[in-house]
Symmetry: C2
């Protein structure tokens, strides 16, 4: 009898282990440890690592979106793996191999659908966010020979719609998933080789950067009947054909004071664009080829990291002064940055120093360093409540 009670007590205690999991999720996030196929669960209040989750496959170029309650992270791996991670228990809730080669995904406005964008086979796939059941897919078929395009720049819009670009087809597609098993797709000619895309924070304008020509394709998703048009014809790509060491990530979208801040391709500049008329306003010289150009949530600062060989530097633009006001050297190979929800701090991954460094954005002083194995992307749950992430 006593033995039975001991077992009971033990099993009750085992159940109670989860009690440390009673906590808010508003200050949680994940850091991709790309070399190990692992993610670290972190919290931004005490700035600590809460746990690690292994077995997520090839996490080079991984991206992450969050469930609307902030409890689950959906991790899209390069190898086509899609893993639903429970941040509160640091366990894998679900995992499927959904494609051969993938570069990211998005989650619908209502949080019910997770969508992956795939290189191979080219197209998007739609999953139930709870079960990861495949609901439908939209192959990126174009031309007359049944070819499929790589899909890039997938972004969620209001109304459970998604916008994305077809690199090989030179098109922007908008798929309405109000009825998730019956996708409805509108197609727009965009230009030569759209290589990435983003949506403005209000979810209205979808922009696709063009690699094969000079300019950016712009679609007003509130007035899709107008079609996509070309903006920023003198954007830089066509002038000198500079060598490009790393493609910029447009998802590092920055809006501040009515202007958009975009990485130039190849040249050492950040482009400032008036978001009312999409005309270039000016160019800010920076230390290298920009990769991510990200605004602090209040828009007062824009932080920029760079392609090799300048990827040990980070620069900060003051958007009122219109110029670089700070140059930092946080570590080797700064791959990504993420602001805390209200922007008092920024987390930076230094891949080749195996660390994440946290900076105070007011003083530019480092606050803490967290050891990580080859960290790349950093993603906080705040993204769950924002459009276009």
């Amino acid at each position: 009898m006593m033995r039975w009670f001991t077992l009971l007590a033990a099993s009750l205690l085992a159940g109670c282990v989860q009690m440390q999991s009673v906590r808010g999720t508003g200050d949680l996030g994940v850091v991709i440890e790309r070399a190990n196929g692992r993610v670290a669960v972190v919290e931004t209040t005490g700035k600590t690592v809460l746990g690690r989750i292994e077995g997520l496959g090839d996490l080079s170029h991984a991206s992450v979106v969050f469930s609307r309650d902030g409890r689950y992270a959906y991790v899209f791996g390069r190898d086509g793996g899609l893993t639903k991670v429970d941040l509160l228990t640091a366990t894998i809730a679900k995992r499927v191999m959904q494609a051969g080669n993938s570069i990211g995904g998005a989650i619908s406005q209502d949080g019910r659908l997770v969508v992956a964008q795939n290189y191979q086979p080219g197209g998007i796939k739609v999953f139930d966010a709870a079960s990861l059941e495949l609901l439908s897919e939209v192959p990126a078929a174009y031309g007359t020979e049944g070819k499929h395009s790589k899909v890039v720049g997938l972004a969620d819009l209001t109304g459970n719609r998604f916008a994305y670009a077809l690199f090989d087809a030179g098109q922007i597609w908008v798929t309405d998933l109000s009825d998730p098993r019956n996708p409805k797709t509108e197609k727009f000619a965009a230009g030569n080789q759209p290589y990435d895309g983003l949506v403005t924070p209000d979810g209205r304008h979808y922009l696709a950067g063009l690699f094969g020509e000079d300019g950016i394709a712009l679609l007003d998703t509130w007035r899709p009947q107008d079609g996509a048009r070309k903006i920023l014809g003198g954007y830089g790509r066509g002038q000198e054909k500079l060598p490009v060491f790393k493609m910029p990530h447009l998802r590092g979208w920055a809006m501040a004071g009515g202007n958009a801040y975009l990485p130039a391709i190849g040249s050492h500049e950040v482009l400032v664009v008036d978001a009312r008329n999409w005309q270039g306003v000016h160019r800010i010289p920076v230390k290298g080829q920009p990769v991510f150009v990200m605004a602090r949530p209040d828009g007062r600062q824009v932080w920029v990291n760079f392609a090799f060989p300048d990827n040990g530097w980070v620069q900060v633009i003051d958007t009122v002064a219109g110029k670089v006001v700070q140059t930092l050297e946080p570590g080797k190979a700064i791959l990504h940055m993420e602001f805390t929800p209200r922007g008092e701090a920024v987390w930076l991954s230094a891949r080749d120093d195996n660390k994440v460094v946290v900076y105070d954005t007011a003083t530019f002083k480092p606050l803490t360093t967290l050891p990580m194995q080859a960290p790349s992307g950093i993603f906080f749950t705040t993204r769950a409540a924002r459009t276009g992430f």
Copy 2:
């Protein structure tokens, strides 16, 4: 021995009761049930009530802010009570009586400080967000006779600063709480009887509506050396001296497409203001005296409720069309509205129908109704990651 194990097992089980509390907090919120001194904890994914917490005192004109992890709500009661509520366990974590008469509060950018704005005694008080220990206070003293002003329109800024207006003194104050036990306050002349205030979503511009004269006081908190200036001189208050049935709430701030949408005082209009130069653009006629004018998170729609006798109506402005596109009658005495984090739905409190109604913002169809006792304010945890709430 067996008895001992039974007790052990029972106490372990009791501890485990909290396990139902393992859940994300990104989709949580509270509804004030003002007549009962009670708040309901709700979640916006399944649209249900998770629990109720009693004993919060006088909750007429109550307001709420959230801890940065989304777990705790700080409820400011009219009677000066400040209650820290644990949303995951539906219990009171802490409660203090901090003043005689209060109308709300705010939380610092780093989440460490909770600040209350008080009518009586007039001033602000600063509390440790974890313990609710009083750290400091700033009495709203003005003039030479030691008078104290009512404080209104308290809003958090970046850098752990707070802006607020002194109704009786006609001033805007900005207090820096970087060192919370040693507040540093700057004072600006604002105009006659500022009755409420708000900060733009980027945390830059603080606006105080003036009741005693025609116009709004504007302070650029990134350039405080310029002082406060008057905008919108023809704002409406001075023209006809219309009877005012209920003061509009400026906290129902709406920004969309670079324009701000503000409730007119007394007249049946929403004012549209260009946020780049703070000039009036146009006025949109609405059904009654607007109280809250709130933008859907994407800015495509602005929802408006009204003072008595039109408080059974709600109207929706399409910001691209620039006019009212929908008129709804959700229930009796619509006191407040709150959008889900990404705006697919809006929750409305119908005080005199004892219900909260949830509408789909795309179709304008009611999705569900939740019985509540005399509901007023609705607050979702998404506010934790936003400035000026």
